[in-house]
């Protein structure tokens, strides 16, 4: 007798082997990487007229070229807001929150990555305006959405003011930082931001961002494929800098979420940091523990784009090898071309406990979300 478990169905068609969609979905589903779009026109109501006029006349200065995405222009074909009836918010609700029964979706606008590095008198107001836009046009209208706070990271004083402004608004769950900042990310220039973040109990959400400075060590990629794979190494550089500069000794409560950068590289990085530290650690008087301990105690990870070993079971083996299995959180990257569906992207071999941890429980711990109500504690 043929059981449903032995029927060969294509993963590419997204059909799970013998497991119903409901069974594969956790009771609590949190999505850690959702990208709303926004424009200068969107934030106009929240900008003063003179600033708006200046931007329109002289343009922006810190906008690095992004790589052409030879895949639907970078988005899901069915998720272009301009093709849809209603607001972008309605599309996100319909295609994501309702479709997959997501309890919480964490929005990550990325204005901080480029607007946040304009001169101080543009960067601060534009980040503030984008935060206000997110409050009024998204968060006030949909309680299932949380958001990532935009801060002018190259202007730490203004960034701290923005953190103080929103630290009691529970809907902002983390602070956007770029992996392509102007100084070393571990540099004391940024420590006021880290101090404020740790004090407010808000993790830094780090997403590969605009890269205005080239790629030291290799030079610029030619292709988006190369750039996209390179997100992992942006976050590797960030972890190395923050750990070696002693950021986590100074701010023991600070947490960092690595978004869209993969996970399996975390093993090699920790192994090499530790063996090398044994040899050259005398140059690191600020460090009180081996580097991997800081890594395991301070970094969290989102899954998308989920790594795909030939044998899907190797994914969980690899997650275990990283030592950060309990810090891995599901993300979809909606509405981008490489969207990972919550019910189909994790390997079928995961246990119920493993699935529920990745799909929701780990994010509850990271962001202080009540697993019963989906609200922030």
């Amino acid at each position: 007798m043929t059981t449903i478990d032995t029927v060969d169905v294509s993963r590419a068609e997204g059909v799970a082997r013998g497991v119903s969609r409901q069974a594969r979905q956790a009771t609590l589903l949190i999505d850690g990487d959702i990208h709303p779009s926004y424009s200068v026109e969107d934030i106009k109501p929240y900008l003063d007229q003179a600033t708006y006029d200046r931007v329109k006349e002289f343009g922006l200065h810190a906008h690095a070229e992004s790589y052409p995405r030879v895949r639907n222009g970078g988005g899901r074909l069915d998720s272009r807001a301009v093709d849809q009836e209603g607001t972008p918010l309605a599309m996100f609700q319909r295609q994501l929150l309702d479709e997959y029964k997501e309890r919480v979706g964490i929005l990550i606008p990325m204005g901080g990555h480029h607007w946040g590095r304009e001169r101080d008198d543009l960067a601060g107001p534009m980040c503030s305006a984008l935060n206000e836009f997110m409050v009024h046009e998204w968060l006030d209208l949909e309680p299932r959405f949380f958001c990532t706070l935009q801060v002018p990271m190259e202007h730490p004083k203004a960034a701290v003011a923005e953190i103080e402004r929103y630290r009691n608004d529970k809907r902002f769950v983390q602070i956007l930082m770029s992996g392509h900042q102007e100084a070393e990310i571990g540099d004391q220039k940024y420590w006021p931001i880290y101090e404020a973040a740790a004090d407010a109990g808000l993790p830094l959400g780090v997403h590969h961002g605009n890269d205005p400075r080239g790629r030291h060590g290799t030079g610029y990629p030619s292709y988006y494929t190369h750039e996209h794979i390179g997100y992992a190494y942006t976050l590797t550089a960030l972890a190395l800098s923050m750990i070696t500069e002693g950021v986590f000794e100074e701010f023991p409560k600070l947490q960092v979420v690595s978004i869209e950068a993969g996970i399996s590289w975390a093993t090699g990085l920790q192994w090499e940091m530790d063996t090398t530290y044994e040899m050259v650690g005398r140059e690191q008087p600020r460090l009180q523990a081996r580097p991997s301990e800081y890594f395991r105690n301070h970094f969290w990870f989102t899954t998308q784009p989920i790594e795909e070993p030939d044998n899907p079971d190797d994914l969980m083996e690899s997650y275990k090898l990283t030592g950060v299995l309990d810090r891995i959180m599901f993300s979809s990257d909606y509405p981008h071309w490489d969207f990972d569906a919550p019910d189909r992207s994790l390997p079928t071999s995961l246990t119920k406990e493993q699935r529920e941890a990745i799909l929701g429980e780990n994010a509850c711990r990271c962001y202080g979300i009540d697993p019963l109500t989906g609200t922030r504690l």
Binding site: V70, R71, Q181, E182, A183, E184, R213, R215, H216, G217, T218, G219, Y220, P221, S222, Y223, Y224, T225, H226, H228, I229, G230, A232, Y233, T236, A237, L240, S241, T244, E245, G262, I263, S264, W265, T267, G268, L269, W271, E272, M273, D274, T275, T276, Y277, E278, M279, V280, E283, Q284, R290, S292, E307, E308, P309, L315, E317, S318, L321, W337, D338
Partner: protein, 358 residues
């Protein structure tokens, strides 16, 4: 400190000329005047004061890396009886930013290597040093030496101004392929070629770890996506002194992205991991396995990176990577795996022609 394996093919051993004076027979009058006027010295990316630059016995002997054949023989060849050794000089990495000077120094180092090392022992092979700022001059040097089968490889730094697959380097790709020499991407780079956004690595820990974990993987991506192996299907690339415990994470993400993004680079006709398995190898030292990692975890890592097929043994003499766990890795791959890593993989990959090189 890891034990050096006896009787292996050792694919990364460091030697350098004793001083810039040793290169004088191979430099023109112009460069002799230039060097005299500037009081130039040979560069050294491995500062002698760094704990990683020399194993205790090399440090005790006084000079490191070996700067003449007798020292190499005493320190490495006699005690460990390697079947063959690939000698690397990286002093050309530090020959400044004058491309003509780089070319002159690279050529002189190659002549020194041939006369002072390769001529004295049939087991020795070497990497060709080239001008890193002038791909055409580099290709000419590869062509000049390529028919001498003792030169089996071209020495390039893992760090570059432009990714190594870029068309800017095409003359080097082509020269390696037509001369049947391996392209080595070896740890470190030219002065200032740091992996950080500011261009200054602040500590050796960050600087050192970056070679493997941060710089090497994108170089592999670049060589594949830019079609280097479409143009030169037989080109071989050896990743040297940059570890290997990052390669599985790269393959899993690369293969996945390629399924959708192949339209951007349709000349990448095979899965990226297949190019990595076919066209790339990595040397074993440093293995970067800390003592707190369990044997089961090492076995898992060895399986993920396909260690028995992918790695070629290296001592990285005289460098000291501390307790880097390479013995435990060799244990994990079993006897067949060890035979491949110690001998077969290098012999096949490098076309070493061990009977008669000349």
């Amino acid at each position: 400190m890891s034990e050096i394996v006896h009787g292996a093919i050792d694919t990364d051993v460091h030697v350098e000329p004793p001083s810039i004076d040793a290169l004088k027979p191979y430099l023109s009058g112009y460069w002799l005047e230039y060097i005299r006027g500037a009081r130039s010295q040979l560069g050294n990316v491995y500062s002698p004061t760094l704990p990683t630059s020399a194993r205790p016995e090399a440090r005790e002997a006084g000079t490191f890396p070996p700067r003449d054949y007798e020292t190499l023989k005493t320190q490495l060849l006699d005690p460990y009886s390697p079947r063959a050794v690939i000698l690397n000089s990286v002093s050309a990495f530090s020959a400044g930013w004058n491309p003509y000077y780089q070319a002159a120094i690279a050529r002189a180092v190659n002549e020194w290597m041939a006369n002072e090392m390769l001529a004295k022992d049939d087991r020795l092979r070497a990497s060709i040093c080239v001008a890193l700022l002038d791909p055409v001059a580099a290709a000419a040097e590869i062509d000049r030496l390529g028919s001498d089968r003792r030169f089996v490889q071209v020495m390039l730094p893992i760090r570059s101004e432009t990714p190594w697959g870029n068309v800017r380097w095409q003359a080097i790709h082509d020269a390696c392929a037509r001369n049947n020499v391996t392209m080595a991407l070896h740890a470190w780079g030219q002065p200032g070629a740091t992996p950080t956004v500011t261009g200054y690595a602040r500590t050796h820990l960050l600087d050192s770890v970056s070679n493997a974990q941060l710089v090497a993987p994108p170089q592999v991506v670049s060589l594949i996506v830019e079609g280097v192996f479409k143009r030169n299907p037989g080109l071989r690339v050896c990743l040297q002194e940059v570890g290997f415990n990052w390669i599985h994470a790269l393959m899993w993400r690369f293969d996945k992205d390629w399924k959708s993004l192949w339209r951007e680079t349709p000349w990448v006709t095979d899965r990226p991991s297949e190019y990595i398995a076919r066209n790339f190898r990595a040397t074993t030292s440093p293995s970067h396995i800390p003592s707190w990692v369990s044997s089961d975890e090492i076995a898992t890592m060895a399986r993920f990176v396909n260690a028995a097929e992918f790695l070629t043994y290296s001592s990285d003499y005289p460098h000291d990577h501390g307790n880097d766990g390479s013995e435990r890795l060799f244990e994990a791959v079993g006897e067949v795996g060890r035979e491949r890593i110690f001998h077969e993989n290098a012999e096949a990959f490098y076309d070493l022609n061990l009977v008669s090189a000349r």
